[in-house]
Amino acid sequence: MDVSVLTLSRFQFALTIMFHYLFPPLSIGLGGLLVIMEAMYLKTGDLHYEAMARFWTKIFAVNFAMGVASGIVMEFQFGTNWATYSRYVGDVFGSALAAEGIFAFFLESGFLAVLVFGWDKVSPRTHFFSTCMVALGAIFSSIWIVVANSWQQTPAGFHIVGQGLGARAEITDFWAMVFNPSSMHRLVHTLIGAYILAAFFVMSIAAWYILKGRHLDFAKRSFSIALVVAALASLAEPISGDLQAKNVAQTQPAKLAAMEAIFHTGNEPTPLYLFGWPDTQEQRVNHGLAIPGLLSLLAYGDSQKPVAGLDQVPRGDWPPVAATFHSFHIMVWLGLLFVALTFVGLYFRWRGTIFEKRWLLWVFVLVVPLPFVANQFGWVTAEVGRQPWVVYGLLRTSDALSKAVTANQVLGSIIMFIVIYALLFVVWVFVLDRKIKQGPDEVITVPAATVPGGLFGVAGLRAGMGGASLTESDNAKEKK
């Protein structure tokens, strides 16, 4: 084997984390949308909202299971492949991980059972409470994991004990660790990204139903709720991104320089590349189009001040420039596309004609992979831009490996992950496809006068306000 344990382990980590991160943002965002839908059901008693919440819960459950299954891998992998890293950061990460386990995981998985299986076992209010707890658990989870990751980007609240390979970080100030310089900016950006993703996901499926003329009432309501969420989140994301970039300019200048491929600091205001092709060998950007002075303005709020370039960083400490540059630019352009799309959508929704605009609905159906791409590339920017450090300025990725593990073992596990993830992905798409084709339960509106007393009683109880309609689920046959 020529390929090193380092290369293989980095590849494996990228593979497993990127696969895992297909699912959590959808769980986080969809959790929030479920809370909205169920709240509207409780408020209005309209069974259409209940049918909506039930349908999206099924999608949520499939997605959540994928997230759990691929998430256990991540926890194991710190120890299996990155033992030296684990010894180094364990003391600091300890508190964050313990908090995630105790506060988030138990909360999510406990109440998930009620959310998914408890529709007919608990009262609507208890069910709504469970939905809120699951959504909250997903957010707690993201808080602690982003805090831990941010500590790797901008370490704070610790001191180094021991020397050489035996050195490790030990916590000195818990709250300084939690509120390290980048954690809140990165958390906000991550959460908003999740809401954009989930809202586009919901809009995609809803638009497809509308185009096919199925479940129209359900689809239009789902689309409208998601469109509002998507528009607000898409608009908030560039603002959060701008705050975060200013933070990166202060705390990780090498990363910002790589994001914009600034090889030379110079004396002039620094331009912002709209696009381009960085050449690290020649240290310049080819085929680029740049707006003069804009990066200086965005990074420092001063259009005259030059932004620190890679020439101020030792060559051995450069992140991979092209990968960081491209992933950052893809994310930004996609983000702007989401703003434009949601505003076109809002405009036609306000005009009341959106559901006749078939071309626009098709656009919403087809763009669904893009928010996934944007979320992934955001993380690629953050993680590749941090290289060659695993803990910024303290521990190099190349020093963080497990010493007891050989290249062949890692190669074996990579093959295993590729096989199992390919299978998982196919099955996930297959099951989603079936759920979507199956669609939500139809809400049958029954004229009050013709309803027999017993049934009316049931319907009234279920609706909470004496509404005279009944979801098909009550009298549907058992699913085989």
Binding site: G79, D91, I102, K479
Partner: protein, 338 residues
């Protein structure tokens, strides 16, 4: 008692909680193929349907707490067990997927594929947990630098494999008793036979494992000389085991289940007694062992984590109980079922 010992105990509690809770759902998976009809297999899967995910969280939390409290032990064990743990992940993922996807499609081939993979994945995961425990009991080749120096094959020692099989038998029995509680009618009568069978296998392997441990692993019993009160747990363990057939015979399945829970808790406790104060014995040199002191995080971190656990655990126990209460009673197949 210092914080290091407190965290050793808390990890034991998490491990026991995991073994008791995920133990019964892994056990249901192990005996899954014992019933043949589609509806009966759905009942088996749905008996654990809403619960297995929460049960697995105990493992995730155990892993997180080990990472946090004893990062050196976490790093050494997980990198040393690289290949078995990768296979374990494979099994756990496959198991989750099998349950999630089995009933989503009608074809018999599709369903029997996921049935078989559910059964094999449950058995394999349990076997590997047992093998890991067996290796921890025997000690591992750990060098002065805290790194594992053995090979994958060295982990497959006969003792470790015996403990692995013992784990499979224990969970199969535990799962059968659980199923007896969750089923009714003719299916329940067949499960009753499986309770007897799995108990028989469990008993035989329990005796073998005990004899092997007493004969061959002097280290594992050393603490009993220092702390004779630990014998009390051995006695409780034997009583709990003896109560299982009695309760089955009297058709008091609740008692039988409580007894098998107590058996698993006692076995976990004895595992802790065998290890203490080490987390990983070094078979090369006792001085190189990873103990609750040299493998631990700083005092400050252990104290912060103890605070977090004290704040969070009451909630965890409260809503875990609520969820089990909501899903009490016999399994009914409905449209929300797997």
């Amino acid at each position: 008692m210092d914080l290091n010992i407190l965290w050793f105990i808390l990890l034991g509690v998490l491990l026991a909680g995991y073994a008791i809770l995920d133990g019964f759902d892994l056990g249901v998976g192990i005996i899954h193929l014992a019933v043949k009809k589609d509806d009966e297999r759905r009942i088996l899967m749905n008996s654990i349907g809403p619960l297995w995910d929460g049960n697995e969280v105990w493992l995730v939390t155990f892993g997180g707490a080990l990472f946090a409290a004893f990062p050196n032990a976490y790093a050494t064990a997980f990198s040393g067990f690289y290949t078995p743990f990768m296979v374990l992940l494979f099994a756990l993922i496959f198991r989750a997927v099998s349950m999630e996807f089995r009933s989503k499609h009608d074809s018999p081939a599709w369903r029997s594929f996921w049935d078989v993979s559910f059964c094999i994945a449950s058995g394999l995961a349990t076997l590997l947990f047992g093998v890991a425990v067996g290796n921890a009991m025997r000690g591992m080749p750990i060098g002065a630098d805290m790194e594992f120096q053995g090979t994958f094959i060295s982990l497959l020692h006969p003792y470790a494999l015996l403990v692995g099989l013992f784990a499979v038998a224990t969970f199969a029995m535990h799962g059968s008793i659980y199923l007896y509680l969750k089923t009714e009618g003719e299916l329940q009568q067949r499960i009753r036979e499986w309770m007897w069978r799995t108990f028989g296998v469990f008993l035989v392997l329990y005796l073998f494992t005990t004899i092997y441990t007493l004969e061959d692993l002097p280290l594992a019993t050393a603490n009993f000389r220092l702390h004779p009160w630990a014998w009390l747990v051995v006695v409780l363990n034997v009583l709990a085991i003896a109560n299982i057939p009695r309760a089955i015979h009297l058709r008091r399945a609740g008692y039988a289940f409580a007894s098998s829970c107590a058996t698993i808790a006692a076995l976990t406790f004895l595992f802790g007694v065998a290890l203490f104060p080490d987390l990983i014995h070094s078979s090369l040199n006792p001085d190189w062992s990873l103990t609750v002191y040299n493998a631990a995080s700083s005092h400050k971190t252990l104290a912060i984590m103890a605070t977090i656990a004290a704040l969070g655990m009451p909630f965890v126990l409260a809503y875990t109980s609520v969820v089990y209460w909501v899903f009490r009673g016999k399994v009914q197949l409905g449209k929300l079922s797997y």
